[in-house]
């Protein structure tokens, strides 16, 4: 296997197929692989099952009609709590959904990464998550306690898309954000994992403190895409914060006649370098402040 895994975003999307189950890393408005998502929006790809702690990428993929089924615990942009295009798709009855507790979701990814069929949990018992997902089953402890748990099935992914701060051509990655979130679990749950990266090195040479920022092994990584500001308009600490002006504009487009088409025309039907120029370039994005909560 070639150890130069660098690919273009278009080459990554060319490796994806209609109907695939696609995991997307990050959380809400945090560290979404938006360059890769925009490339999907530009492609004819369809009928995807999207598995995500959802943010604007879910709304965009829904608006573009790419999503057949959504596996999620929430979809939100935090500062704008209700994701407009997710709501539209959900309220139109246009989505198949597997709605899960955030922890069940994590358990599903863990199970997949460990090649288990399920992991037991109490999360979800007693709720309508069970009622609305009839495929979920329970299991009794084989020990004396006999407690009955929910058996969270593995969330196996055909592919995972992640965004990282630094990577090399071999697929080594660094996440410098304060919170690595659950990206490593997406990488483990997927047959193929593609990362976009702010900075691409030929080969990382690290001291111990920096090496600790590597959260999953390069053998999990199938492709590396160099994508400066590739999480915009979501935030990718410490490199840049979220673009609230852009998210507000995106949000407002959902209330306008032909709003999504207009958004697509302006921000998607162009190259990534044109996109970056339209949103103010590296200079502006690099100055976007990380949110204060």
């Amino acid at each position: 296997m070639a150890l130069d895994k660098q690919l273009t975003a278009a080459a990554v999307v060319a490796q994806l197929r209609d109907g695939m189950t696609l995991g997307i890393g990050g959380w809400g408005p945090r560290r979404k692989p938006m360059t890769l998502v925009r490339e999907i929006l530009r492609s004819p790809l369809k009928d995807l099952t999207v598995v995500a702690y959802g943010g604007p990428e879910v709304g965009m993929l829904c608006a573009a009609g790419k999503v057949k089924k959504l596996v999620y615990g929430f979809v939100t942009m935090d500062a704008i709590p209700l994701e407009p295009y997710f709501r539209k798709a959900r309220e139109a009855g246009a989505l198949q959904v597997m709605e899960l507790d955030e922890g069940m979701f994590e358990w599903g990814l863990r199970a997949a990464g460990m090649r288990m069929s399920f992991l037991p949990t109490r999360c979800g018992l007693g709720t309508d998550v069970i009622k609305r997902n009839p495929e979920l089953k329970t299991i009794a402890s084989p020990y004396d306690d006999g407690e009955v748990y929910l058996a969270m099935p593995a969330l196996k992914l055909d592919a995972a898309l992640l965004h990282v701060n630094e990577a090399d051509r071999l697929g080594n990655t660094l996440m410098r954000a304060n919170d690595p979130l659950f990206d490593h679990l997406f990488a483990r749950a997927a047959d193929r994992c593609y990362v976009s990266t702010e900075v691409l090195h030929d080969k990382l040479e690290l001291d111990g403190a920096t090496a600790r920022l590597n959260f999953f092994e390069r053998y999990l990584v199938s492709g590396v895409v160099h994508a400066p500001c590739g999480a915009h308009p979501t935030y990718s600490g410490p490199d840049y914060g979220w673009d609230l002006d852009h998210l507000k504009r995106y949000n407002a487009s959902a209330a306008e006649e032909g709003g999504w088409e207009a958004y697509m025309n302006e921000f998607v039907r162009c190259s990534e370098s044109e996109y970056l120029a339209k949103v103010g370039g590296v200079e502006r994005v690099g100055k976007l402040r990380t949110p204060v909560f």
């Binding site: 209700l82 309508d128 909560f293």
Partner: protein, 279 residues
């Protein structure tokens, strides 16, 4: 902070209803022990912070993002230069660790669900219509299933009415309550621990028979009948129902320090005073 003290009268009569609710909500975290206090949203977060600064310094809190802090962080922009608030970190609490904390039960969260029913079941997912084609899609069940079955939980309702406190059951049970019909034999309900619901009319608890919801205290100028009318299921009341206490001068000063940009003013429409004028 001194400027604030000089310019703001600390007379309790100037307290807003939101401030009264924040003080009432802070009581949820009293005598919880060393647990992670998670107040989600403006008022619950100020309430948790107030609890830590007054009666319960043993509480753990985060910066609402990734780190544990030894002092609650004021809401909103933290200033720049000499006057800036510098967080005092004492540890780490990534999302992954929050889940581990949740499953181990050492947490008390307070959130504002869209619907609550007589069992204390809550909904943050969809309202109205059918599940497949809901009238209103909200956030999703988020962490409510796991939170509610693992650790202490309280709720904050700024708009007490029958659309929130629904008859029957909530449209999509996201957080569990005390409803044994939803638990098969062998499923453990032992860790379900609902504490308070703080609303703009009253404080409710789960101290009735079979954990039935009771009115614990009424806010100044509110009657039990008024609360009952605004609730889609029958309420009990505690034997010696008190009036919800007004914030003290000390509590008001702390609230203003914790929320220097007065974000709490948007908690309730028109930011009414704690003591309602006769209508």
């Amino acid at each position: 902070m001194d400027d604030v003290k000089k310019t703001d009268a600390m007379d309790a009569s100037t307290a807003t209803l939101a401030e009264l609710m924040i003080v009432a909500a802070s009581e949820a975290w009293r005598n919880n022990g060393e647990v992670l206090a998670s107040g989600i949203g403006v008022a619950p977060r100020i309430a948790a912070s107030l609890a830590k600064l007054t009666h319960s310094p043993e509480l753990l809190m985060t910066d609402s993002e990734t780190f544990l802090v030894s002092e609650p962080i004021p809401l909103g922009p933290r200033g720049q230069g000499d006057g800036a608030h510098v967080p005092k970190y004492e540890g780490y609490m990534s999302f992954d660790r929050v889940f581990e904390c949740v499953w181990g039960g050492r947490r008390h969260a307070m959130i504002g669900p869209s619907q609550i029913d007589r069992f204390g079941q809550s909904n943050l997912s969809v309202v109205g219509g059918s599940y497949e084609k809901p009238k209103s899609a909200i956030l999703g069940v988020r962490g409510l299933p796991g939170n509610s079955i693992n650790h202490m939980n309280s709720m904050f309702v700024p708009n007490h009415g029958p659309r929130v406190f629904v008859p029957g059951e909530v449209d999509m049970v996201s957080g569990v309550g005390y409803n044994p019909a939803r638990f098969a034999p062998g499923m453990k309900m032992d860790y379900i621990d609902l504490r308070l619901i703080v609303t703009d009319l009253c404080v409710l608890d789960f101290g009735g028979p079979e954990h039935a919801i009771r009115v614990h205290s009424l806010h100044p100028g509110v009657s039990f009948d008024q609360v009952q009318t605004a609730t889609g299921f029958p309420l009990l009341k505690v034997e010696q129902m008190r009036e919800t206490p007004l914030p003290s001068a000390e509590q008001l000063a702390l609230i203003r320090r914790l929320d220097p940009h007065n974000l709490r003013a948007t908690t309730i429409k028109n930011n009414p005073p704690a003591v309602r004028t006769a209508s």
